[in-house]
Structures are given as structure tokens and as C-alpha cells.
Amino acid sequence: MIQIAVYGKGGIGKSTVSANLSYALARSGKKVLQIGCDPKHDSTRLLLKGKAQTTVLSYIREVPSSERRLDDVLKEGALGIKCVEAGGPEPGIGCAGRGILSTFDALKKLGLEGHQFDVKLYDVLGDVVCGGFAVPLRREYADAVYLVTSGEFMSIYAANNILKGIRNFDGDACRVAGLIFNSRGLDGEVEIVERFARGVDLPIVASIPRSQLFSMAEREARTVVEMFPESQPARVIVGLSRHVDNMTRDPGILRPACPLNDDQMNQLASGREVDRGCRWPDKATVQEALGCSLKCASQDAVRATHDPLERKILHTCATNGAVHCTSQIDKAVTIIHGPRSCAHIMAASSDHYALSAWKRNGELQSAPTAYRLMSTNMDDHISIFGGTQSLEGLLREKAEQGHRTMFVITTCASGIIGDDVAAVAKRIERDHRGTVVKVIEADGNITGEWDQGYLDAVKSVTELVDRDVTPEMDTVNIIGERDFFIYNRERNFRIASDVLGRLGLRVNCRFLSGCDVTAIRNFNKGGLNLLAQDDALSRSMGEMLRDRLGVRLFDLPLPVGLRETITWVEELSRAMGREGAGKAMIEELSAEYQSGVANARPWLKGRKVLVLNKYSTNIDWLLDLLMDLDMRVLKVGLGVKHYPGEPRSGLDTRCTRYLNAITFQEDYGLDDLRMDIESLAPDLVLSDQRIPRDQVCHYDVIYRPDIGIRSSVELAKRWANIVRLPQIEGWKMEGKGQ
């Protein structure tokens, strides 16, 4: 048995050639199977006398897997030739390449492999050699590949592209049978094809003349070989069938794929002989030549072998960031246009954070994500035929249920197949007055990571804000509260609300945690916008809101510890004209802090502390507390590139007020910690990561504390207890002979 693939540009006549070749092979006594791999599904028409054939893709779309039978898609044509059509989506929708993959998978499951054939012929569209259309090129399918071409440049270009595809699969392996020249009757056509053949070092195994006989036979839905067996075109096809026969006996006649590079294609197009000294480089050559001048290799060849590890590794995806952003908004629906796994991963991760926060703080920060999230549950069929229909159905259903604000976020899958989601959104808005559908084309990680998706979503949300609303000076907005890795969001909010209340201020909108669509519309009512956190994403959000909505930003994040709190209250009360209330509050907070610290000081005064801080950019709140407790800070170990934007040696007073009072060591690792514990014998180690289980010392892990002063007092109390506990818990000694 031999399997051959006939590739060529759309409209070049490869289906006509394939059907005629199948007929000629069958007439010589071969048992033949022809599989059409072209969405227009007319490959086997001439073998089936024009009868419509059920395509595999429409079949698997309509018939449940338990009811499928091979006979429903495997039709018998002239001379007993078995015929299959893959089919495909409508032009401009879905992914035809994915369809080819699904067809081969379905045929395998239906048991096609159990049938015996002498020749399997795949008739494949070769305009686009994406992974799907390249499936027949795989070794398990095609033993040999024929390329159908005319003298038209685009046809030759397509043939050359297929050779590139084969080379990517096979390297120097021999699998190309040759060119089939299907003449269009153009001037100089023969010479061009011959020059191309010489350039790629392939034989022209058949030259099919232009002939009216083909259209006459096609009108009768039959092959030329059947209708005009003695004609010249039929004789050429029969000759081609002998070539197949010879190849079956002697695979040595197959050649490697040697595609032309861009320069060579230009030579061919300009009527010159191709310079064969300059070949398409193989992978090894490119690797070797990287760093040198590669005049002959095209950009693509170099790019294809560029070390993937040199590209930035994307650990997260923009879709997740966008979903996390919009799914926080109450009274809005977020729809993930993609497979259910995307929605599940995002919801389960989000719920996990909610549960972790509950465990740590005894309160739940948010309801199950599933209440705010929907998925179009894109499956294999949708990925082939396009998913806009199912998305539109879901949006209409939600609109009819009364939902007025919806966000649609795209994933890798919907991005790759190119669904026109924006057009769907417009139709829904047109048909359901008052409904707003915002589309965020995150496309999985194609547009970037989590932060990028979050910011794109924020941008989309700002379009909901009513620009006519004016600021009120007794209200503020809080910007950028988040769940991820922040387990104390709600507690922080209560603390902030309490402080703001004592200044005579109230919160207008929590952008975007715990807010609803109405609060977003009235966002501009907030007289000042307070950043919840001091990180790059929060700052980007703040700047985006300032630039897009023209709102006032307050530059300081919600404060931790006494000194930050004092500064924050002073600045805020000044900005809002409430200096008197601010001053009184500072006195109260300072007194409460001093009293709490004084209670813990007897246990901690003079104790030696070693601090390991790998992740936070600002720990002055911690150093303040240690100093206030009269503890001795031996050293602060920092991570790599600790202060973003600062050169290594540039650790200065902009980073910490304690630069000259405490020893800082950058690139501080666990080995350094181990040595310091041994040599410096600290009474307490404070670290923002777990230290090795076998380290015998009093230690505590420092998470991001609550804002305000009380978290510092609580920490002081905790350390006062920890230094009185055993240095290592008993369970950590399990298996160590104790």
C-alpha cells in the first residue's frame, strides 16, 4: 500500500488531477481510497458522478459519536473507488485546518484503518500550510507528495511553500515524488515551471495539456480518463499512474524537499535562472550560522530556529487578568468566549484565593466566581465552524434575562480561529436597547500576561463611566484593591473606611472590588482617587483613570505602620481640607500604637533580628516597628534586583530610611541565611519566604500586613510569644531520630 498526497494551490486543478489519477489507478486494478482535504469538498465529485457527499465535518457535527458509522461518510464511486470528503467551515469562519485534524481523528475512530487499500490518495488544499493542512504530510499518512502547479507565479509560490512544509517535517528525507504541471496555456509557462523544477531539483512527472476535454468531462461529472480514455490528457494521467506504480516498487525515486528561498523566488519571478548554489538552509546550518551573516537564508528561516528560551516566558494569560477584573463587578456578566477549561481554571483559582482568605481572616471576601462568570464552552466543532453563533445565543439569553452590562473576553482558541466578536456585540446592542456589551480581545496570552489583560479590561470598564457626573469633595474612590495574593482586602477596606470616616469622608466607588455598575457610572463623583497598593499595576491603573477621565490621583498607597499612616493622614487631610480632623486622629493613632508596642517591648528589647526580604520593595514599616521595639537588626537580606529601577549599587535613601543604620545585603539566598544563623545567632528570623525546615531558630513568616497601625501592634504581640516558644516545632523533627 502506498499513500500519496496531491497538494496544490486552490483552483489549480488538483482535484481534477486527483480524481483522474484515482480512476487510472483503479482501472489498473488497484483498490483506491481518495480523501478530499479542501473545505469546498468537491474532490471526489467526478468519481461519484456528481452525487453529493456527506462531509466528515458536517457528519460529526450532526451525529452523536455513538451513532456514527464509517459507511455514512465513505462512499463508493466509479470502479469501486472509496471516496471521503473532509469538508470545512464557511469562508471567513472558524478554522479549516483544525477541521482536517478532526477529520483524520474521526476517520481513525470510525475504523478506516481496518480497510485495506492499495493506494490512499489525499487531495489537499495547499494555499495555507498551517498545522491542520499539513497533517497529510505527516509520515503516518503520506509516503509521497505530488505538487500540482501551473506556470502562474502564485501557483509556484504555493508549491514552494509546501516544499518548505515538507522540509520542516522531514529535513533531508526523500518524500517528494515530483511536479505535476497542469498547463493554463500561458506564454512561456513551460519554461517557468521547468526553471522552478530545476531550482528545486524535482522532476516534472506529468505535463497535462490544457484541453476542452476536461470541461466536457466535468459537465458530465466524470473523469477524462473515463470519458475520453484514448485522449492525450488521459494518456498523460495514465502515465502518472504508472509513476505511482513505479514509486511503490522503488521508493528510491523520491527526492528531498529543497524549497527556494526568497531571493531565489525573486530570481524566478524576474525570469532568471535560479542560483542553485544558494539553498534553503537546513536547521543545522541555520544554527551554525546564527551570529554570522546569513545572506541566503530568509528572515523566516532564521526566526524559525530562534531559541524559544530566549523569548519571554509567559506564566499567565491576559484573559485571566481581564476576567479577574470584570468578574468583580456586581450586576455585570462576564462571558469567557472559549473552552470551558479557561473558565474553570480562572474560577477555581479565584475561589481558592477566596477560601484562603477565609482561612486566614475568618471572612469570605467574595462569592463563588461561578455566579458572575459564564462560558461559551467552545468545543471542537465550534473551533472548526466558528463560535460566534453560540456566543450570540448566550448573549441574547442573558439580555433577555435582563442583564444590561456584559463583558465578553476572548481566549487563545477564539483568538486563533478569529471569531468576529465585536460584530456580535454590536448586534446585541442594536437589538436590545440599553444593553452594553464590552468586548475585551485578550486572546489568551496572545496579547500578553495577566497585568495586560487586567489593564485592557480596566480601559473597557472606564467606558461605562458617566462623564457628566461632577466630583464631590466629601467622597473618595479606592483604586486597585485585588484578591490575588492579598488575603486581607476586606479588612483593609474596613480599616480605610474607618479612617476616612473619622476625616469626614466616605467611599464613592471601590474600583473594581465590591462595586457595581452604578458605582462605576458615578465614578467621577469621587473627589479624590486613592491607590490601594503601591505596585506597577495599581500605578498603571491610576494613570489610566487620570488620563482617560481627568480625575485627581492621590499619590500615596494605603499605609502600613505608624509612620506611613501619619504621613498618609496628613497628606490626605490637607488634600481634602480636613487638617484639624487629621491632626486629632494622628494623636489618637500614635497613642494606641505606642501603648501596644510598649506591652511587647519587655519580651523583645535587645533581641537580635535577621530579616530576609525577597519580594517587597518597601519594608520600612517593618524596620520602624523593630526599632520601636528596641530590637537589634543584624542584617536585611534582599532578593535580586530588589529595588526596581535602581542600579545594584544605587541602594540609597530613596529606597529606605535605614540605609546608613542597618546592613543590607543584596542577592541574599538561603545559603547566606544558613551561614548567618550559624555565625550571628539571631534571636528571631523574619522572612517573607519559608526557611528550610531543618533550620533551628525562632522565626516568623511576614505576609503583607493589614493597613494602619494595628497590624504592627499585633505582629509585636506575636513575636513576643514566638520568642518564648521552642525554636523548632516537634513535627519538624519527625524522621530525624527524635
Partner: protein, 422 residues
């Protein structure tokens, strides 16, 4: 709520359920982190000291599910080069088997991964699951993955070991599956049966090979195993048995499960059943004590969200044994149609038909029995009084004591959660 785990999770966890196998995710990092965490949490096998071994590309410090970290460039130009690089890195870990699974995006680009495995010379220990499983039920994908691996192992047919069985349809997605396996294995051993292998729950590759010598396959949950059981039957002539009443959840269904097995294997279930008597007596004593001061749990309402093979016996047991009232019964995708019909008919016969497929939130039950996240969040939001964690996703619970839902131990766990929770 249409965001239950799908086939991607099912495939990945099915491979990860094999003790000496590893799933390789050909996809973006965003698909990896959750599943890697899930695998490690549900089936931990790396101690924290061993993490440094995984500080390298494709693992990035996480032991499970090495990943190609596909990006835009790979979607356009293909991922084969990354695949060629990841395979030797994974092979050095010394697993007996590695299975490449495509993310939904990767499934669309159709790279020739088998070719990459061939070229790397790892065809004897690596395979690819090319079939796109996205949005298919997780249980269906779990089943088909185990079946595909068994088919790929292509173990020759050898002599059958009398009175030996495999347990099928236990998965690492079950709540406290380790104790579940232990519990059911103990029951079968008391019937004189030897458990050769538990494909789908911590079986080794060698165990999978050995499994073809079993004289019978015992199904716990058909959603996770029926096609695998049929494959064993077709290829090796191994019959399978499952209880029409579903999985062994609650005392009654466990007894019926054991009797069905005894009938099919020609063994005697009386010792296994009588060993349950102790638990039944303890349960009855505690319930009597509890009802001295309360009329509960009789009359309190419950909601179940589970696989059909669990929902059927659980609903019946709560209603018939404890006198609780069903207000919402929803099945996870991929349910066994016969069991689903049976459950629906049961509810209708009991005149509680309105509970079928009713939303959890709107039904406001007293007790929710569902995946860990739903159960705990429902309780946290005060949508119910008790949230009983019976399946994945359950990311933050550690089972210091047995918390399986199967067998007599399982019945005690459920009673403990319900009675002490209300």
C-alpha cells in the same frame, strides 16, 4: 454555572494519576499553573526538598506538568521546536511514561508531536493525546485517557489470575481517594478477592500492565471508567461489573455494590457486609443520642451537585436513611444516562421531582454536598448551614482523618459532617 472542569483537566489528571508517569502540557503557562498545583495537591509526591531538581526550563520550579509555555509566535509558527527541546528535559526525570496533552489553543495548530517524539527516540515511553478534549466532560476524558494509555501499552494477553480484580472508576478527583481505595480494597479482600490494580488512582505503569491478568473489573464510577472496562472486555475478555445503584456511597448502596460483585465473581459478601455492621451500629447510636435534643436531621433540606454515580446513591441515602429533603439535585457533565434517569425517577416517585436540576443558590438548602469549593463558599456566603466537600475542586483541605465518601468509612464521614455541621 457552566464552568465545571472539562476534558483538559480530566486528561491531565488521568495521566498524573499514574504513579510513575508525567503529563506534559503543550500549551500556555496560564493553563499550567492551576493544574500543576491541583495535581500536586491531590496526589502529592514531591517533598519540598526535591523542588530544586525542577528549577529548570519547562518545569520552572513546579514538579508537575512541565509545559512548553506556548506564546503567540508558537501559534503562528508551530510549537514543534519547543516540543523537541522539552522532551529530553522531561525524559531525564526517569518516568516510565510521559504523555503530551495539547491545550485547546495548541490543539488548533496541529503540530506533529508524534514526529517529535519519534525523532527524539522516545516512542517507547512517550505518547501524545491528540484528540481535542476541550469542553467535553472531565470524567469522559479521564476514562478515555486511561483507555488510550492501556491501548498504547499493548500488553500481550496472558493467563488470568483467579479471584483477582481491578478497581476501575476511582479517580484522584474523588474526595480523599487514597482512603477510598483503601476502604474498597479492604471490602473486596474480605470477599476473597485480590485487587491487582487500580487504574486511575495511583497505579504504576507496571500495575497497568499487570491489570490485564485480572479475572474481573469492578467499577466504582462508570463515568470515569466504562469505556476502559469495555476495552478490557473486548481486548482481553475481562468481564466488568457495576452496581445499578451507582457507587458505594452510604450504607445501603455499599451493601448492594458488594452483593453485585459477589454475584458476578462467585464470592461471598457476608463477611464484608457484616464488618460494616459496627459502623451502622455506631451511626445509629450517635443519631439516637443526637435526636434526644433535636428532631434533626429529619426534615432538613439538602442539595447535591455530583457525578451521577455518586448523586444517585447519595440522594437516596440522605432521603431514606436520614429523612432529609432534596431541594436541588444537579449532575456534573458526563453523567451515566441510566443512573441519571434512575435518579430523576426516584425523585419523582418520592414527589420531590422539582429538585431535579434546580440551581443551588435559588434552592437555599440547609446542607450542600458538592465539590469542595462550592460547598465551602456556599457555607461562607451563608447560603447554607453545612457545606460537605465530596469532590474536586477542593484545593485547600488536608485529610488528616479519612474523608472518603465511599464505603462504611464514607458514610461515617458524611454523617460526621452533616450532624456536627447543623
Amino acid at each position: 454555572m457552566n464552568i465545571e472542569p472539562d476534558g483538559l483537566t480530566g486528561c491531565l489528571l488521568a495521566v498524573e494519576s499514574i504513579k510513575d508517569a508525567r503529563a506534559i502540557l503543550n500549551g500556555p503557562g496560564g493553563c499550567r499553573n492551576y493544574h500543576s498545583f491541583l495535581s500536586e495537591l491531590h496526589y502529592p509526591r514531591t517533598d519540598s526538598g526535591g523542588i530544586t531538581e525542577f528549577m529548570e526550563p519547562y518545569f520552572m520550579g513546579q514538579p508537575r506538568l512541565p509545559c512548553t509555555y506556548l506564546d503567540e509566535d508558537d501559534y503562528i509558527r508551530g510549537s514543534v521546536e519547543k516540543m523537541e527541546r522539552i522532551l529530553p528535559v522531561v525524559e531525564r526525570k526517569g518516568d516510565r511514561l510521559a504523555v503530551v496533552i495539547n491545550s485547546p489553543g495548541a490543539a488548533l495548530i496541529g503540530d506533529d508531536i508524534d514526529g517529535a517524539i519519534d525523532r527524539a527516540g522516545f516512542s517507547d515511553k512517550m505518547l501524545t493525546l491528540e484528540e481535542p478534549t476541550f469542553s467535553t466532560p472531565a470524567s469522559t476524558a479521564y476514562d478515555s485517557t486511561i483507555r488510550t494509555i492501556m491501548n498504547w501499552l499493548d500488553q500481550p494477553r496472558t493467563d488470568t489470575i483467579p479471584k483477582s480484580v481491578n478497581i476501575l472508576g476511582m479517580s484522584i478527583t474523588n474526595k480523599d481517594w487514597r482512603h477510598g481505595v483503601f476502604e474498597l480494597q479492604g471490602c473486596l479482600e474480605r470477599m476473597g478477592l485480590t485487587v491487582l490494580s487500580v487504574p486511575g488512582a495511583a497505579c504504576t505503569v507496571e500495575g497497568l500492565r499487570r491489570s490485564v491478568r485480572a479475572s474481573c473489573n469492578i467499577i466504582v464510577s462508570p463515568e470515569y471508567s466504562l469505556s476502559t472496562a469495555q476495552w478490557y472486555e473486548e481486548k482481553y475478555g475481562i468481564p466488568w461489573v457495576m452496581s445499578e445503584e451507582g457507587a458505594p456511597v452510604g450504607f445501603g448502596a455499599t451493601e448492594r455494590w458488594l452483593r453485585t460483585i459477589a454475584d458476578a465473581t462467585g464470592t461471598n459478601a457476608s463477611e464484608a457486609i457484616s464488618s460494616m455492621r459496627h459502623y451502622r451500629e455506631v451511626a445509629a447510636r450517635f443519631l439516637t443520642e443526637f435526636q434526644r435534643h433535636s428532631t434533626l436531621p429529619k426534615g432538613i433540606t439538602f442539595a447535591v451537585k455530583a457525578d451521577s454515580s455518586v448523586a444517585l446513591p447519595l440522594t437516596k441515602w440522605l432521603l431514606e436513611y436520614l429523612g432529609m429533603v432534596p431541594v436541588s439535585v444537579r449532575l456534573n457533565p458526563g453523567g451515566d444516562p441510566t443512573m441519571a434517569d434512575s435518579l430523576r425517577s426516584f425523585l419523582e416517585q418520592q414527589e420531590f421531582g422539582e429538585a431535579w436540576d434546580k440551581g443551588l443558590q435559588e434552592s437555599r438548602p440547609d446542607v450542600v454536598l458538592a465539590d469542595g469549593h462550592t460547598a465551602r463558599l456556599m457555607k461562607g456566603m451563608r447560603y447554607c448551614r453545612v457545606g460537605v466537600d465530596i469532590s474536586l475542586p477542593s484545593l485547600d483541605r488536608f485529610n488528616f482523618i479519612p474523608r472518603t465518601i465511599f464505603g462504611a468509612q464514607g458514610a461515617m464521614y458524611l454523617l460526621d459532617e452533616i450532624i456536627n455541621g447543623i
